[in-house]
């Protein structure tokens, strides 16, 4: 009798562990991950455009002003969550380059048609090669690249108003000063 009694408590124990995860998830802010590439130039690449496989985009084609590099995929729900906010940033005149990461081309194109396209350019990183060079953990991730092509900041997790206001804007303002001096 004693033994079966303990067995019956197993679901409760599992649930308590599960609850702990939910609680931590509730109180956890999206993690800020330091990248080894901070203050280093963006890796060189030469990769297909998402919308036309005949167009090859090279790292030289990146904007000459500071811009955002956004890693996304259609299989990633958080990407869907941040998508609308990226659209808002575009309306504010922010340049965003998309890296479509380990995705299916057709699905990705359909996604942009459906939800709107906030990107100036989207490169199609089918095998995740560029992702490896950048040290991408998973989608979504957003990098801040300055006018000189150096990575200044990396944010893992969905972009939203709070992240933008607290992490990106101050850095962009600082970059503006930096850019002025150089």
């Amino acid at each position: 009798m004693k033994k079966s009694n303990t067995m019956m408590a197993v679901p409760l124990v599992i649930f308590i562990v599960f609850l702990w995860f939910l609680w931590k998830g509730l109180s956890n802010d999206p993690r800020i991950l330091e990248s080894v590439l901070i203050n280093k130039p963006l890796p060189q690449f030469s990769i297909e455009s998402l919308k036309d496989k005949n167009i090859i985009i090279q790292s030289e084609a990146m904007p000459k002003t500071s811009y955002l590099l956004n890693v996304w995929a259609t299989w990633c729900p958080s990407c869907r969550a941040e998508h609308q906010y990226l659209g808002k940033l575009k309306q504010q005149g922010i340049s965003i380059i998309g890296i479509n990461y380990k995705d299916e081309r057709e699905a990705a194109i359909a996604w942009l048609q459906q939800l709107g396209d906030p990107y100036q350019l989207v490169v199609y990183d089918e095998a995740g090669q560029l992702g490896i060079d950048l040290g991408v953990y998973g989608a979504p991730e957003t990098y801040l690249v300055d006018a000189l092509g150096k990575i200044r900041y990396r944010h893992a997790g969905p972009m939203d108003e709070t992240v933008w206001q607290s992490q990106f804007l101050p850095r962009i303002n600082r970059l503006g000063k930096l850019g002025g001096k150089q």
Partner: protein, 659 residues
């Protein structure tokens, strides 16, 4: 004033729910049997006030009362009336109200239809349902009041319902799904009441089965409608995306399916009692978890949750209380559930146990996949999503194993069976199934695909074994009369399992043989996909009630014979200026022809999506069969007969206090 009455009705419903959940227990303590009746009366009252609150919100939508914040956010004066009504559940507050209202509907159903159960037991069930109501009504009142006003400067017109939701599928999908979700609260309450009483005999089980089946039927239909809606409305022809919202409904379906089966074993053989109770608790817990994951947005964006800490904390606290206390009760009391039967390794019991294990594993797979971003976040691995590849990789083998054991199961008898007998009776059928599968694959595609032949062999093996079993049962005298003599629950079982086979067949063929082409087309151009020619004849301007746009006209021909004319639309909804793709679909059992307009390109050309999707209808048709099968089992005579038998004895049971 009227919306304030709605809020007032919610407060009254909360008070009545408190009475509903406590009266019977106070009655037991103080030995006053009249308190048992109070529980039922309070449940009735709670239902009435929830109905009033719900109607008031519907009226606010229909009469365009934009002083109510929720109406202003989700409706618009131009919106057609049916969509004004369905906009009631188009957002957070309203869907929570619908949820809670449906909970009171189930509560009143249990109150009215409990003749076969001892009165005290039925009162306990209704009381437990009242406790769940308390949580939900309090959630509405304290964090999600749909009757909040914008006063004095209320907007003159509303922000409109998201055009994606302006669709017949979305009018009926959420109520169906919620009927399923909430319906499992009955099985849950029965399990809790049985644990409180400390016994689970066949009366309990026989009473629990039709309720559980009804919830399962609704959930099946709800999920199927959602998949069908996504297919024709989202405009890229997918029917399942493994996103957290879908997974949230799929998990209770998996455990609910396991529960339906384990209830059958417990009813017939008296085994798996504690497992059945645990499944009942888990299924409803997953319904709660699903509702909250979806409604709180904890998964899609952590901030949506954190930005409203009251809602998040309430949700988690309620989940912890409901699930935690029921699992605690389970831990303390479940070992008292004495198993009466025993069975051998090869028997119907062990086949059903295996079915349960596989479904439980499948649930864990979905749960881990869905919560992985959250777990990874907490363990500081970064924010990562696992996509469809993860689910497909694990689900395909799981369901193949499930089919392998489903196929011979009608032959296997209770208690003890010989493995040789299974092999002897199934092998010829298996060979026949293989031949049928191979021939169909050959006719369809002029080639043999190993994986397709393998999966469809299993599918036909399931179906042919069922047919064979029917033939044996009617002693090879197949006639309508002999079929009608079979019990309703047996016919339901056959139908539901054929449904499973149909869905798997549809999934296998659609995912292997669908042809999807995304092309640039000018009016006048043609495209050949499979044996079909799609001619983009012209575009026409389009004007709807609350949208404008363009309609494409596509003539589809096969061997120079006109098959159909498809008219896909690109709509721009006036209020939100939001573009929407309305795909045009010609549906048939053997294939769907699917055309959707993408973006307009230069010089009158359009980005066009043309799909030919073989057998995709089988996916949803299978769902209909499953639901119909579940319904037939529910209507079985033994559940109705029982009511009459016990009608006389319930009075005597009324005052007996057990446990």
């Amino acid at each position: 004033m009227i919306p304030e009455f709605g809020f007032f009705a919610l407060i009254l419903a909360l008070m009545l729910a408190v009475i509903q959940s406590s009266a019977v227990f106070i009655g037991l303590k103080t030995n006053k049997s009249s308190y048992v009746n109070l529980t039922f009366s309070a449940a009735l009252g709670q239902f009435v006030f929830m109905l009033i609150a719900f109607i008031i919100l519907v009226v606010a939508f229909v009469t365009d009362d934009f002083s109510v914040a929720y109406v202003a956010q989700h409706s618009n004066s131009q919106l057609p009336i049916p969509y004004k009504v369905s906009a009631v559940w188009g957002g957070h507050e309203g869907s929570m109200l619908l949820w809670t209202f449906i909970l009171s509907v189930w509560g009143i159903a249990v109150t009215l239809l409990n003749r076969s159960l001892p009165r005290l037991s039925a009162a306990r069930v209704v009381a437990v349902m009242g406790m769940i109501s308390i949580g939900f009504i309090a959630f509405l009142i304290f964090t999600s009041n749909p009757f909040d006003r914008i006063l004095p400067n209320f907007p003159l017109d509303g922000q409109d319902l998201n055009p994606l939701l302006q669709d017949i599928g979305l009018i009926i999908h959420p109520p169906m799904l919620y009927m399923g979700y909430v319906g499992f609260s009955v099985a849950f309450s029965i399990a809790i009441a049985a644990l409180l009483e400390g016994r689970l005999d066949s009366t309990w089980i026989r009473w629990a089965r039709p309720w559980t089946l009804m919830a399962w039927v609704f959930l099946t239909l709800g999920i199927m409608l959602g998949s069908w809606w996504a297919y024709y409305e989202l405009g890229w022809g997918g029917w399942w995306f493994w996103d957290p919202v879908e997974n949230a409904s799929f998990m209770p379906w998996l455990t609910g399916t396991a529960l339906v089966h384990s209830l059958a074993v417990t009813e017939k053989r008296g085994v798996f009692k504690s497992w059945t109770l645990l499944l009942a608790i888990l299924t409803f817990s997953l319904c709660l978890l699903g509702t909250f994951l979806v409604r709180s947005g904890v998964l899609t964006s952590v901030h949506a949750f954190a930005s409203d800490p009251t809602r998040g904390v309430f949700i988690l606290g309620f989940l912890a209380l409901v699930v935690g206390s029921s699992l605690l009760l389970f831990a303390v009391k479940a070992h008292r559930m004495v198993t009466t039967g025993n069975f051998q390794l090869v028997s119907r019991e062990s086949f059903l146990l295996l079915n349960n294990i596989l479904l439980a594993v499948a649930t864990v797979v979905v749960l881990l996949g869905t919560l992985f971003p959250l777990i990874a976040d907490v363990l500081q691995l970064g924010k990562i999503s696992v996509g469809a590849p993860y689910f497909n990789m694990l689900f395909v083998p799981l369901f193949i194993i499930l089919l392998i054991f489903l196929a011979p199961s009608p032959v296997v008898r209770w208690k003890k069976f010989e493995i040789n007998q299974i092999i002897r009776s199934s092998i010829p059928v298996f060979v026949a199934s293989f031949v049928v599968a191979a021939v169909i694959n050959w006719i369809f595609s002029n080639e043999m695909s190993l994986s397709i032949v393998m999966v469809s062999t299993l599918v036909f093996w399931v179906v042919l074994n069922l047919f064979k079993d029917i033939l044996v049962k009617v002693k090879f005298k197949l006639s309508l009369n002999s079929l009608l003599k079979l019990s309703s629950s047996y016919r339901g079982m056959v139908l539901a399992h054929i449904g499973v086979a149909m869905t798997v067949f549809g999934i296998a063929y659609t995912s292997t043989y669908s042809i999807e082409r995304d092309v640039k087309m000018n009016p006048g151009e043609s495209l050949t996909v499979a044996q079909y020619q799609f001619e983009f004849a012209r575009t026409e301007p389009l004007k709807g009630v609350n949208y404008r746009g363009t309609q494409g006209v596509f003539n589809v021909t096969k061997n120079n014979q006109l098959v159909t004319t498809l008219r896909p639309e690109k709509r721009i909804y006036n209020v939100r200026n939001q573009p929407m793709t309305e795909a045009a679909i010609d549906a048939a059992l053997s294939r769907d022809l699917y055309v959707a307009l993408g973006e307009p390109l230069k010089n009158g050309a359009w980005a066009v999506r043309v799909y030919v999707k073989p057998f995709i209808r089988f996916i949803w048709l299978g769902g209909v069969f499953m639901a119909l099968g579940g319904f037939m089992v529910m209507m079985d005579r033994r559940y109705r007969l029982l009511k009459k038998q016990h009608a006389g004895s319930q009075v005597a049971d009324g005052g007996v206090v057990t446990s």
